[in-house]
Each structure stands twice: as C-alpha cells, then as structure tokens.
Symmetry: C2
Subunit: 144 residues, 2 copies
DNA sequence: CCTTTTTTGTTAGCTTACTAACATTATAAA
DNA sequence: TTTATAATGTTAGTAAGCTAACAAAAAAGG
C-alpha cells in the first residue's frame, strides 16, 4: 500500500528536463535562451502562421498565470525577441510578434526541443509514449 | 508525425499539481505552507525515523540543486519548521531536525498530499498509474 | 605529513512560478 | 443609456528553480 509520491516524481522529471534544455547552447558566443523563451518562440512561430497570437493564448497553452506570462514576455521584449502590439480590434488584447532574430532561431530551437524529448524518451516505444501523453492529458483535466 | 510537446505537457501538469496543493489550507487562521515545504516535512519526518537526514539527501531525493535546498531550508528555519544542526562526525554535513510544530503537522500534510494525488489520478486504474510512474522513473534515468 | 581532489554547503544574481490587488476595455443586463 | 460583470493585462511581493563562484571539511595520493 506504499504510495508513490507521484507529484514529486513529476516535478523531478519536469525540472530535469528544463535543466537539460537550459544547457543546450544556441549561440556560439556566450549568450543563450532560457527553456521557457525557447518554447514560447516555437509556439508563437507556429501558431502565428494561421492566426493572431495574444498573451491569453500562452496562458492557456502553458497552463500558467497571466502575471507569469507578463513577466516572461517583458524579458523577451527587452532582449529583442518579440514585440507586443495592442490590438486595434480589442483594446484589451496584445498581439505577439516575433522579431526577425527570433524567427531566425526557430528552426534550431525546434530541433533542440525534439532532441531533448528524444533523450527523455530513450528506450520507450511509440505506444508507451502515446499512452504516457494520454495519461498526462487526463491528469491535466482532472486537476484543472 | 506530429510531435507531442511532452516537455511542455509535463511542466503543465507539474505546475498545476503544485498550484492545487498550494490552495489546500492547513491552518484555520491565514498562514499556510508552500508545496515544497509540505513535501520536505513529510520526507524528513519519514526518513528520520530510521536515519539521520542531511541536506544532501534532499538534493538527491527531489533532483534539485544544492543552492535550491539551501534557500528552501533557510526559509523553513526562519518560520520555525526545522533546525539545521552541524554534524559532530563530519563538519560538512548539516542534520535536519523538524520542530515540534512541523512534526505535529505531519499527519495532515500527508493526507493532503494523498488527496491531491488521488485527484490527479481520478479515473485511472492502479495498473495505469504504476505504468505511468515506471515511465517517469525511466525518463529520470534517461535525462539525469 | 603535505598536497590535491572530492564532497558539502553558501552566496549572489537571474528566471519562472505563484497570489492578491489593481486598471482598462468589452460585454451583458437593467 | 447606464450600470454591472467579465476578460485581459500589469504591478508588487514572495517562493523555488537555475548557474557560477566561493569556502570549508574530508578523503585520497604522493
């Protein structure tokens, strides 16, 4: 009847994944991007192909709070990775627009992410991974 | 061939779990404990039944860095949840010692954790949970 | 014994998370 | 129309994660 501390286990793997991602270099000379910045660049790049992307979309996509979105985007804007343009349609919304610099990094960042996930999933079958992902989705529903 | 952003999914669920745990009240009047503080109280309480617990043990157990352990414990000590006693055997080690206040909270915290995990796993069979946990363990090996 | 390496813990500075309280704009209701 | 409610974003303050650089004690090697 020993209870596996599943929450702790989840947190461990999540932390280790971010830590690993953080160690993958992007630029040759020093400067780097954080894991969250990389993920945001990828999702904004992909989604903005077909639609406008606003801050609220990140909130839902990553399951994080508004204030967290604000903070991360402020840093990214300061580093010249994106700009936030107020919507003319709806004064509450701010559209996210990647800079050329960020767009240029998209391909390599996406590859880094895929490699990191490949490492994470080493030795697991496609079916196992799909099953695992489905359980995560179920848990997300349960706890939201 | 669509790649599921597994890392992002992991982070979402992990964050949501912590957020949920953070909302479970402990005291009747205002003050509360953070998710990490709760987990540390539980693990130190349990492990110290049979052995001395040092800071390095938390580092391994939670897969976090030394500096993180230091920071969390400093706060917990400031709040009177534990004390760090330098080992007489080995001058590098600091033994962790829960206060009476923290020990008194152990039972209810453990129950909170179990309820939170039960919510997380709602609708999943024992076998599914075991399989999920095994995959997490495998991933932890892969990426460490 | 002396020197080097390993282990453990701290500090400083940063990022990402949270809550709570607030401001602003849209939408709904009266 | 006017008022109330909902949706979106910000700020302030705090916790927990990280890296890098440091200090001190123990262990290993000479």
């Amino acid at each position: 009847m020993e209870q596996v501390p599943l929450g702790k286990q989840l947190k461990s793997v999540s932390n280790l994944f971010s830590r690993h991602l953080n160690q993958i270099p992007l630029y040759h000379e020093g400067e780097n991007l954080t894991p969250m910045q990389r993920m945001i660049i990828v999702v904004v790049h992909e989604k903005s192909q077909t639609q406008d992307v606003f801050q609220r979309d990140l909130e839902k996509f990553f399951s994080i709070r508004r204030s967290t979105v604000t903070g991360v985007l402020q840093l990214m804007e300061k580093r010249g990775l994106l700009v936030r343009e107020p919507s003319t349609q709806d004064g509450r919304l701010k559209r996210l627009c990647l800079t050329d610099q960020a767009n240029a990094l998209f391909a390599i960042i996406q590859q880094n992410l895929q490699e990191a996930e490949a490492l994470l999933c080493q030795g697991l079958t496609k079916e196992e991974i799909a099953f695992f992902s489905a359980i995560l989705a179920k848990m997300e529903q349960n706890i939201r």
